[in-house]
Structures are given as C-alpha cells and as structure tokens.
C-alpha cells in the first residue's frame, strides 16, 4: 500500500501537469514533422524523374526498386549490359543515373553482392542511389552492398541513417529520462520534500523503487515518442513511401522496443542515484551531463567503428546501440539483443539497490 501510494504520486504528478506531458511527447512530434517536411522538400519534383540505370546481372531486387520509384511517381529504365566500364563512363558523363552490378546468380546464391555506382554531384543520380540503397537495405541482408560515387563525394544513404538512428534514440532516451528524473529526485531532495517521505515508516527500498519504476514508465513514453517520430519519418525523408517500413520483420521491431525498454530504466536509475547523491538539481544536472556525453561517445564508437566484437554486450547502452544497428540493417541478432537487455536490467537492479542504500545513509540525505 505504501509502495503503491509512492508510485501513484509520481504518475499523478505527471498526468496532471500538461507541461510535463508536452515535454515528453513533443520531441517525437517535432522530429516527425521536421523530417517529413524536410523529406517532402528534398524529394519534391516538378516533373517525375526518369532514371536510366545500367544493370549488370539481374535480380528481383531491381523490380522492388522500380516499384518503390513508381510509388514516388518516378520511373526506371533498365539498360542491360555486360560492359560495366562503359556504363561507368556514362554515369560519370551524366548520361546514365547509375550502374547496378549484381553478383552472379544473385537471387539464388546465399551470399550475393551488389555494387552501386552513382554520381554524388548529380541530383537525380543521388536520388536513385538513396532509393536503391534503402530498398536493398530493407530487401534482405544475405548480400552485401557497396556503393561508389564516380566523382568522389559520398551521399548520405540509408546505411548511414541506420547507423545514426540508434544514436538519436540514445539522445532521446537520455533527455527524456533526464527531464523527469532530475526534477523528481534531485529536485525533491533539494526542496526538502524527499525528507518528509523519509520520516514516514515506508521501507527505503520501496521509496527508491517507488521513484525509479514510475519515472522509468514515464520516460519510456518520451523515448517511444521520439523513436516513433524518427522511425515513421525516416522513410519519407529518404524518399520512400511509408509502407517500406513494413518490410522490417515483427521481431526486429519487437527487439528494438525491448532494447529501448531496457535502456530507459537503466538510465533513469543511474540518474536517480546521481540525483540522490547531489545536493541540488544544478549539481545533479552537471553530473548527468557528463554521463550523457559518456554514453554518446560510446554510441559514436559504435557508429564509426564497424563490426565491434561480442564484448559489446557487456557494456550498457553500447550493447543496445550495437544490437539496434544490426536490427535496423535487417539482421536478427536475437541472443545479442536478449543478453544486452539482461545486462541492462541487472545493472538497473544494482542501481535501485544503491539508491536504497543512499536513502538510508544520513550523510548523503542529511549531511551538511
């Protein structure tokens, strides 16, 4: 009953404060609108594009690309050839949009390979490249994709976005957790309202969990809003129709959700511990800022260093980022994801325990 009252209070406070609700849900909405508008702007065409694309080899994937283009109101003209170097010349001269080289027996072989040659300095060519890369990325992962821009500069492709999305998620998760936890734990300590709860006979472990559990649930809302905003607007941003999203499997989404759900309580409990230690919200935000930078560094490592080893599952936050990258690329690293979730939840339990100890420590709670 005491535990329930503690949890109810946190929820009551959140759901009766429109300002807090807006803080939680707004980021997702803003991201969605921003990316959608940007995507609309980037992909707006006075006239429909007509891509001229050379094909070496063939695959059903080409058809999928053509379908995706058609949904955007564009058309693809396939030019079958065996002379890759002549086709490459045409791409460089702007006579063709791109060249796709499928490895032999592409659709049947278990480890096919496709190479995209395009021109990053040409608008139409780049548009085709991002479309093709996005479709290929979602189409299946049993093959590798390499892309080459004939004039050097690389275009921002779906691949990069798949890498960056987990980083964005970490930022959103962190800021969602921060906005409620700092206020609720460090704020209450600073204002002396936590002490009022400590004079009651409620168990210290209940007080700790009575903070962390509801705050994690609330932060989850913020994290999910941001995630949905990003995920729903990304295809549009890339010039794809929304239903391309449906090509990720149910389990990919499920595991991504599970990973996010394991990172949220971890970060909430970490910030709660830091907040309980700090004397003021200001002090707690300073520490939390450092922690955020630390997790961003971890995430950046994952973005820029390809194929990190299995050891990453032991590193909180990083484990979720690496697993999400795999999931977004179409793979299904089930064990990696589950172990990561387990590690994060175990660490959360440790932090809850630490916070309980801190609530019982008079030097931390009532020291001068």
């Amino acid at each position: 009953m005491k535990f329930l009252a503690l949890i109810k209070k946190e929820f009551y406070r959140f759901f009766h404060d429109p300002r807090l609700i807006v803080t939680m849900l707004l980021p997702g909405i803003v991201i969605f609108l921003l990316y959608s508008v940007l995507g609309e702007e980037f992909n707006r065409e006075e006239e429909a594009r007509q891509y001229r694309v050379y094909l070496v080899g063939d695959s059903a994937a080409a058809e999928a690309i053509a379908d995706a283009a058609k949904e955007n109101g564009d058309g693809v003209e396939w030019l079958y050839t065996d002379d890759a170097s002549a086709a490459r010349e045409e791409v460089r001269d702007g006579k063709a949009s791109a060249l796709l080289v499928f490895s032999e027996n592409f659709d049947a072989s278990p480890a096919g390979h496709v190479d995209i040659v395009y021109d990053a300095s040409d608008e139409t060519s780049t548009a085709f490249y991002s479309l093709a890369a996005a479709v290929l990325n979602i189409y299946g992962m049993r093959f590798t994709v390499t892309a080459e821009s004939v004039t050097g500069a690389e275009a921002l492709g779906m691949q990069v976005l798949c890498n960056i999305l987990p980083l964005l998620i970490v930022v959103f998760v962190f800021s969602a957790c921060m906005s409620v936890t700092l206020e609720s734990v460090a704020g209450e300590k600073e204002r002396g309202t936590l002490a009022t709860v400590l004079v009651t006979s409620a168990k210290r472990s209940h007080i700790a969990l009575g903070k962390i559990f509801p705050l994690a649930c609330i932060s989850m809302l913020g994290a999910l809003s941001s995630f949905l905003g990003t995920a729903l607007s990304m295809p549009k941003f890339m010039g794809l129709s929304l239903n391309m999203l449906g090509t990720y499997g149910f389990w990919n989404y499920f595991l991504i959700l599970l990973l996010i759900m394991s990172v949220v309580p971890l970060i909430v409990s970490l910030i709660a511990v830091v907040s309980a230690y700090s004397k003021s919200v200001k002090e707690a935000s300073a520490y939390t800022g450092m922690l955020m930078i630390l997790s961003l560094v971890l995430t950046l490592v994952a973005v820029f260093v390809p194929a990190l080893g299995n050891w990453t599952v032991a590193i909180p936050v990083l484990n979720a980022v690496v697993a999400m990258q795999g999931l977004l690329a179409g793979a299904l690293p089930v064990w990696q994801s589950l172990v990561s979730v387990g590690v994060n939840l175990a660490l959360t339990a440790v932090f809850v325990f630490v916070m309980t100890m801190m609530l019982s420590d008079e030097r931390i709670m009532f020291g001068k």
């Binding site: 005491k2 009551y12 002396g192 006979s201």
Partner: protein, 259 residues
C-alpha cells in the same frame, strides 16, 4: 491513563560529526570532528510538553533528528513508546510525528492529496483516514483550502497543513524543532495553539527552542542544553527557580560561556 507515564527515555545519546573542508572554512575551525550531542539522558512523560532550550549550535536539532530516526546516534539509545531508535527505527517512525522547517510539502499537490498520501505512507486504513481528515481539516480550518495547491497557500495556512499532515497517523509523540522560528506572530500563535490542543488530546510533545517565553508558556518540563550537554533538567518551576532567563545565563556563564 496512568499519571506520569514515561513515554520517551533518552540514554546517554552521543553524536559526533566529521566536518567537511567547506564547513571547516565557514566555521573558521581546524578541527575535523565536532561533538554535537555529548551524552544526553532525559525522560519525557505522557501528555506533557518537554522543551529542549539552548542557544544556536547547542545540539537541539541533532538530538531531535536522532529521536526521529533521521540520523543514528554514535552511542546510547532512546526509547519512544518503548521502541529503540537504534534497533527499531521503523516502529519508532509510526509512533512519532516530526515537524521541522526542513521538511517540506510538494507545492504541486493539494492538502487533500498530501493528507491521503502521507496517511497511506504510514499505513493508515482508508476509512479511518477519511474520518481523521474530516476531523482535522475542520478543526484547523483547512476545509476551504483542501483543494488548493500547496504552493498557492498563505504561510499560515501552509503551516497548519504541515502540522496536520505530520499527525496524520495519530502519533503518540510529536517532535517539533523550533516550532515558531521564522513565523509571523499570527502563524506562531496558530502553532502554539496547535501544540496546546495536542496536549489536551493527550499527546506527548518534545520541542526545541531558544526562546525563553515559549518554554515558559508551553512546557511542563525543560532541559537546558549547552554544548551538547544538559546543564539542567526537570519540571519547569524547579529548573527556572522563579526566572528561567536568569537561571539560563547563570548556567551559561558557569559553563564558561561568554556574552
């Protein structure tokens, strides 16, 4: 009810703090350790008001915090309604109400919500809680303000709400650190009336103060606290010897204090 039933017994309570560097600087002292309370022994009785009288830094707050189980004594023990503050802090918390200006109520919530919340935190049963709320809110005139967010209440009303919430669980003992400190005269009167009312209800009260008149007005027994030690203790008339203030300063100078 038994006359003169001992309800609080403190036995040789001691508390030493380790001073932080920052604190050493503020207080311009090189010492690392500060003995705040140095072997306190006293008793308080049911239905009476016990006052700890002492200057700033005498150790009053520290003593009351030990009695309320917020901090643990280094040595000694105290028994409140027979429960040890060292061995059964949780039981102690259920029989006491602690009031101090350091304990705040969240401004976002209403008195109504907070009363129910703290009632639940003390494990008060729902029906009993509702009855108690009706009774206390009407007795202290909180009724019309029950639905107003605490941050929008006047100082006086806020004080009343804090008082009422600290006794939500009908504690036998009320511990009150500096009851009238920083309050305007009207609010201070509310508080002293409240304490007298509690005594009429048969509750036992331990308060700390540095104000002579407050002790003379309210207390049945008094302990004079100087440098963490009791310099005198007993029934008000016995300790005061006709003039509490004069007795206090005689003791103060006797202990080497300078004015």
């Amino acid at each position: 009810m038994q006359e003169h039933e001992e309800i609080v017994r403190a036995e040789n309570l001691k508390k030493t703090f380790t001073l932080s560097k920052k604190q050493q600087k503020i207080e311009r002292t090189g010492e690392r350790r500060r003995v705040a309370v140095d072997g306190l022994t006293f008793s308080a009785y049911r239905g009476e008001i016990y006052g700890l009288l002492g200057p700033n830094g005498a150790g009053k707050t520290t003593t009351l915090r030990m009695l309320s189980t917020l901090i643990r004594p280094d040595a000694g023990d105290a028994f409140l309604c027979g429960h040890s503050i060292v061995k059964e802090p949780q039981r102690v918390r259920d029989v006491i109400g602690f009031m101090t200006s350091d304990l705040k109520l969240e401004g976002f919530f209403t008195p109504d919500y907070l009363f129910d919340f703290f009632g639940a935190m003390h494990g008060v049963e729902k029906a009993a809680l509702a009855a108690r709320k009706r009774e206390l809110f009407s007795r202290f005139g909180i009724d019309q303000f029950a639905g107003v967010q605490v941050k929008n209440l006047s100082t006086g009303m806020l004080q009343k709400v804090s008082l009422v919430i600290s006794i939500v669980h009908d504690p036998e003992i009320v511990i009150f650190d500096e009851p009238t400190n920083g309050l305007d005269v009207i609010t201070a009167k509310t508080v002293t009336d409240f304490l007298e009312e509690l005594r009429r209800m048969g509750k036992s009260i331990i308060l700390s103060t540095h104000i002579f008149s407050l002790v003379e007005k309210l207390c049945d027994r008094v302990g004079i606290l100087l440098n963490g030690k009791l310099a005198a203790e007993g029934a008000l008339e016995t300790v005061a010897q006709g003039d509490l203030e004069r007795t206090f300063f005689a003791l103060y100078e006797g202990k080497g204090g300078t004015l």
